[in-house]
Symmetry: C2
Subunit: 334 residues, 2 copies
């Protein structure tokens, strides 16, 4: 069983993921090349190589766990957390411990091995985003879970271990530290100014324009003012909504345009960089808070996080966000 | 002038380091191989390739900025922060901004290009650590600075851009977010239990033993209970002292043994992994707080931080710290 352990000083949790245990010798050998082509567990025809599917967008005539799907959701074969069992919260001397209970799902957005998310058709990208929404929404039915994060690692430098593109969804029994900070910061801003901080950010950025890469009716794609990383992009809704899971279809269609633009411009402008993106949505128990807004953070991995960033949480970013936005905005239409 | 910009939601600062500006094209080309041998700016004989030295441990008969040194401290040629000028704190609409004033020094611990820190002689390693202490102590004389971090990046995966080993010291005009958290957590623990949390950690770890790699009179080398990364190690003093800069010579001699053991075992056990280490010391204005203790965090870079960690601050660690400590403890003496 994986364990959740809390740091007694910072109160940050770590998942000690014994199911994917790496022993010292694992770190000394060169990494094994990831499976490709015929043996890729995420390719059409290889459905038996994954655990049985949780959900799929597929032709009605095709059977579960066979080909014929467009989007497929399966449990992670090496989950960081286990879906079964209770939390069993307990101390270990001065430390806090609980069982690593949670969901860990993989969302494969296309049966094609070499697809890029932003090159999917409008319909296929919408199906992928609707699947993200559906799975996040579904997991809130489990009373053990407080929060879920949808994330996507593209490229080895961003932590992807399987080349076939996919997103992941982790549902957790606690609200993570960084999320709590984001929430607390937004709540304090609202208490102080009686306005949603995301509303103020969107207004100022659209008026200023220097950090805006793209806008449509429902979203702004922008380089945040205090960008931690070169070419970091945020996709922020222009409407109030704390939880991504509550997003309606019309807005998801706008999101297809916003997400495609962000990923396409990073791809063309920087030569297919590794990236992570995450969907930051409010915890499950915060249905209607007026002070938060869900959003997407896209983080290209162009530089390496070094000791200074680790020790301080203070990022040294060698590219001004105004310059990043100007460059991405100026690329010819895709 | 580099800028400090504050995120309006999390209150995390970012340094927009325009002096080391990376433009879009810089991210597309393959990185230029770092200078080696004759052109390495940190090798003996090439002193003219760096800015003029701030401090050096050198033969009395040798002139400044020439060979004959054992440890040499120079300003970073591409500093993240500038030493001149005032902070000029000001708003930018809803955002907070100040000039990127601070110190950024490089501490070269040996004139030999290929040295490893833990393979230096006792005297040379002590000279290096004494130089760390001296520079951190010296910078507190500047009233603009609140905090300094000593860090060392070893290997490209840990962010090192020059192969010749070196540490770096950055002094900041603000106390960084993560440091504030560490301090707040330690202070709250003290308020609640009337004991220093580091004292309790050291006591429990020495009694338990499973996570201890090494101990001597003054220090414990241990894998922390909630290790974020595989083989993360902390070096914690067994004596109360919030600030590294206040450490006496006898303790620094013990630290030579503790640091050497930690780095040597990681090197031999895992095959010279990339690592960062940082010296976490209390801010300059906290001379005598009873609730904090300086310590060293060593973070091998064996896995990659991916979207989940970015989005949550929640780490998935595939190696239990008990297993990491057992392996490192069990290596034959170096």
């Amino acid at each position: 069983m994986p364990e959740l352990r809390r740091d007694p000083i910072t109160h940050r949790w770590a998942i000690i993921a014994t199911e994917r245990a790496l022993r010292p010798k694992d770190f000394q050998v060169t990494a094994v090349a990831p499976p490709e082509g015929k043996r890729c567990p995420f390719c059409a025809g290889n459905e038996k190589l994954t655990p049985s599917e949780i959900y799929a967008v597929r032709d009605r005539t095709t059977p579960r766990d066979g080909p014929g799907w467009q989007v497929r959701v399966v449990p992670n074969k090496y989950p960081a957390l286990r879906i079964e069992g209770g939390l069993d919260k307990r101390p270990e001397g001065i430390y806090d411990h609980m069982n690593g209970v949670g969901a860990h799902e993989v969302i494969i957005e296309s049966p094609e091995h070499d697809f890029k998310l932003h090159q999917l058709s409008d319909g296929a990208l919408l199906a992928a985003i609707e699947t993200y929404r559906l799975r996040m929404d579904d997991l809130q039915g489990d009373p053990r879970f407080r929060f879920s994060l949808l994330f996507r690692n593209h490229g080895a430098a961003a932590g992807a271990s399987i080349n076939h593109g996919h997103a992941q969804l982790i549902a957790l029994p606690v609200v993570p530290h960084e999320v709590r900070e984001l929430l607390d910061g937004a709540r304090r801003y609202f208490e102080f100014r009686d306005r949603n901080v995301f509303e103020d950010i969107v207004r100022q950025e659209l008026e200023d324009g220097r950090r805006v890469v793209h806008e449509n009716r429902d979203f702004v794609v922008m380089a945040p003012y205090a960008s931690r990383l070169p070419f970091e992009l945020w996709i922020v809704p222009r409407f109030d909504s704390p939880r991504f899971e509550a997003t309606g279809k019309a807005q998801l269609i706008s999101l297809v345009d916003a997400l495609r633009t962000a990923l396409d411009r990073l791809d063309r402008g920087l030569g297919n960089p590794a990236y992570n993106f995450i969907i930051q949505s409010a915890p499950y128990h915060m249905q209607d808070v007026p002070w938060y807004r869900w959003h997407i953070q896209v983080m290209p991995k162009l530089t390496r996080v070094a000791g200074f960033e680790w020790g301080t949480g203070f990022y040294i970013n060698p590219t001004a966000p105004e310059e990043a936005a100007e460059f991405l905005r100026g690329l010819p239409e895709g």
